[in-house]
């Protein structure tokens, strides 16, 4: 008979060792598909590390990929803290991106000092609106937000296609369903010359810092935590639960919108329907890995981005199918998940027969 008990105390070495052990185990597991595909795992691991940390370029690439994940991770983490299950960050990301190109690609030809804040604000506002609607339906009609936000992802993606073939289409784009580019002065400044890493990362980090601080130290965060942990008690204590939910919905949607705005105005320059390879969904994973802590989101996003970029680059160096990258990411995700469990609980074999006599 197996029983699970919380660990009473965890030593520092143990707490540090577990994540490392999880990473090692996930790498060991990755050897299986590698060998199936006929590659030498040891060489592959070397290539993987080189792919993330081998050069300034690779580090910059990793950070570039982590940037939207920090935003969507925060979006999920904050909403989930209030038990508002926002599965719609993917759609909200696109709403933010649409708003960013709608204002940024020539509608207002103003200096960057005005245009950049405008893009960021409207991007966030559009994302916020995308989460406000399902939250309203939840509060007013009791419509489950998991479903509405999930379905909205599809609706928004189709809507995006419609916009890109209609009002948002670039007249100079030779008919491609893509938006006009964001004006040069509207682009978020790059952080390193000739690299893709851009100041969206700074915004993301600042957002994480603010979220961490507000959650722990502000009345707003207090209410949010109370609503999430026990809405009935929060309501009884005089906290306006609906207002709290609505507030966090706006912020969560806004962060997801920022992810889209930052991808468009920081990286791509214009909008296509394949802007995000599922950043919204990965954000949920990031948030949960982080234990819904904003600072944890940064770490988890860096982790996921490193594994992906590393495995992706390794698949090329080793000449195995590039689907390997997602496979390695998913395996490390599951390993880290189990690792987190091992850190908190221990599994004991309780031999009941012996206890009986």
């Amino acid at each position: 008979m197996i029983r699970i008990e919380p660990r009473n105390s965890t030593s520092r070495a143990f707490a540090l060792g577990i994540p490392i052990l999880s990473a090692v185990v996930s790498l060991a597991l990755a050897a299986i598909p590698l060998m199936l595909a006929g590659a030498n795992p040891i060489v592959a691991y070397g290539e993987m590390i080189k792919g993330v940390f081998g050069s300034v370029f690779s580090i910059s690439e990793m950070l570039t990929r982590a940037t939207p994940l920090i935003f969507t991770g925060l979006a999920a983490a904050l909403a989930f803290r209030a038990k508002l299950w926002n599965i719609g960050a993917e759609g909200q990301l696109y709403l933010g991106a649409m708003a960013a190109v709608a204002v940024g690609s020539g509608a207002f030809d103003v200096p960057g000092i005005i245009l950049i804040p405008l893009i960021i604000l409207l991007g966030a506002a559009a994302g916020a609106a995308g989460m406000a609607a399902p939250t309203y339906l939840k509060i007013r009609f009791g419509a489950d937000e998991v479903v509405t936000t999930l379905l909205l992802n599809f609706i928004i993606l189709i809507f995006l296609q419609m916009m890109l073939e209609g009002p948002l289409q670039d007249p100079m784009g030779l008919g491609w369903p893509q938006s006009a580019p964001v004006l040069d002065q509207g682009m978020l400044p790059p952080l390193v010359d000739r690299m893709r890493i851009h100041s969206g990362l700074i915004i993301a980090l600042v957002a994480a810092g603010i979220a961490q601080f507000m959650l722990a130290r502000s009345v707003w965060g207090f209410k949010l935590r109370a609503v999430g942990e026990n809405a009935a008690a929060a309501r009884h204590a005089g906290i306006n639960v609906n207002r709290s939910l609505f507030g966090v919905a706006i912020i969560s949607g806004g962060l997801a919108g920022l992810a889209g705005a930052s991808e468009v105005a920081g990286l791509k320059g214009y909008l296509t329907a394949d802007l995000s390879p599922g950043f919204g969904y990965t954000g949920i994973v990031v948030a949960m890995l982080a234990g819904l802590s904003p600072v944890g989101v940064v770490i988890a996003a860096l982790f996921i981005a490193s594994v992906f970029v590393g495995a992706d680059s390794m698949s090329r160096a080793m000449g195995v199918s590039s689907f390997l990258a997602d496979l390695v990411v998913s395996m490390s995700l599951l390993c880290v998940l189990v690792g987190g469990f091992v850190a908190k609980y221990r599994i004991i074999r309780a031999d009941t027969g012996k206890a009986a006599r």
Partner: protein, 504 residues
Amino acid sequence: MPEQVLSLNGLSKRFGSVVANDDVSLTLRRGEVLALLGENGAGKTTLMNMLFGHYLPDAGTIDVSDEAGRMRPLQLGHPQAALAAGIGMVHQHFTLAENISALDNITLGSEPLLALRRDRKAARAKIEGIIEKSGLKAPLSIPVGRLSVGERQRVEILKALYRDARVLVLDEPTAVLTPQEADTLFENIKAMTNEGLSVIFISHKLREVLAFSDRIAVLRHGVKVGELETSAADEKAIARMMVGAETPKVSRERMAAGAPVMQLKGVSVVGRSKRDTLQCVDLEVRAHEILGIAGISGNGQNALAQVISGLAVPTAGAIHIVDSEISKPTPQAMVSAGVGRIPEDRHREGIVGAMTVAENMVIERLGDMQVQSRGLLRRDAIQSNAKKLAKEYDVRGPGVTAPSRLLSGGNIQKLILARVFEHAPKLILANQPTRGLDMGAAAEVGRRLLEARERGAGVVLISEDLDEILGLADRIVVIRDGQLTETESHDRERIGLMMAGEAA
């Protein structure tokens, strides 16, 4: 001397650093009713959970008699083994699935899971037989979620009897029952003991312990501190055994009522069920008085409590607190108007378990300058306030920065008392304030309520424990079907009948 049916031998169990049971031994005889007493957290439930196989003891063994009366060791840690050995347990908290019928709850686990058909007829016949013998009536076909607490309690017992229990464990079975319901329950159980059923029951109500048990065992801090025949016991002796000291008797002095602090005029609430409905109710509470609301659960107490707490908006009528009308009742508005509220379900509505004791102490007053400035929490002030209150109200536990869910029930209640009484409310709503509390903790609540009354507050005390109302209230109002009837009488029998709707 009747034969033994059960013996617990040297059972120990620890949870982390908490020693919940330390070398506890206990025997039970055929046809006997054993009362297991102890303060909150003394380890009563833990002991029974080991008996039933929910918990695996760290040390010790259990022997149960088989059909033939021979004692055999029980396989530990397996509810199936306990059930098979004829042990039935009614848990402190209901273990019923609310989305299936009572019949399904009762038969759950007794039928082969992979069978393609169920013999519901036979099951129903067997249950009806048990109902007839035991008098424990409950509707069998509708989902349990729609049953009243009393009915659920009876379904719990039926579950155990259906499995042919020879030893029945009842963990605080009457905590949620009215006196009449409790009496009926015990009479039914008594009748069954005559046919050989043995019973261990846990209760904080000494009245029923003295009236219905044959023998008493007392736990303190996980250790068995005493065992005595009920015939040789009295309240004082038991209390001393449980607490290790005398408990002060709560005494109440006569006092002239003052000006009204709350008036409900023609208040109606339309709810989904009876418990959420009020029909054009008038009620006045004055300073220096405790108003007791007696009634069988589910007769509108919930609606009344919700109105006073600001959680329900009446469909008609007016609410006055002191002199001003509350036009838009919200919890916030009520707190600001000087209403202190002790909710019925302290775990569900009273505290946010994951947040710290200190945070829970300020949760109703997030707007205060002592709590926040410019939207940021003043953490030092919050903490020192909590430390002060914890000391003053004797909130014991792992400290004010620990999550409040780690506190015991009694201490959670003290936390809520501290939060409420600290701000000298003019009106106090106390909804089932001592439910599930041990004598010491319950006495403390009573003392605080009387203190507030003395200070000049008005108190609305909603309780299903008639003894509590009789002990504390200046005036008594009976609630039935969402309507209130005031009574001059302080007579148990008479009020009980009014609650049942059989006398005016």
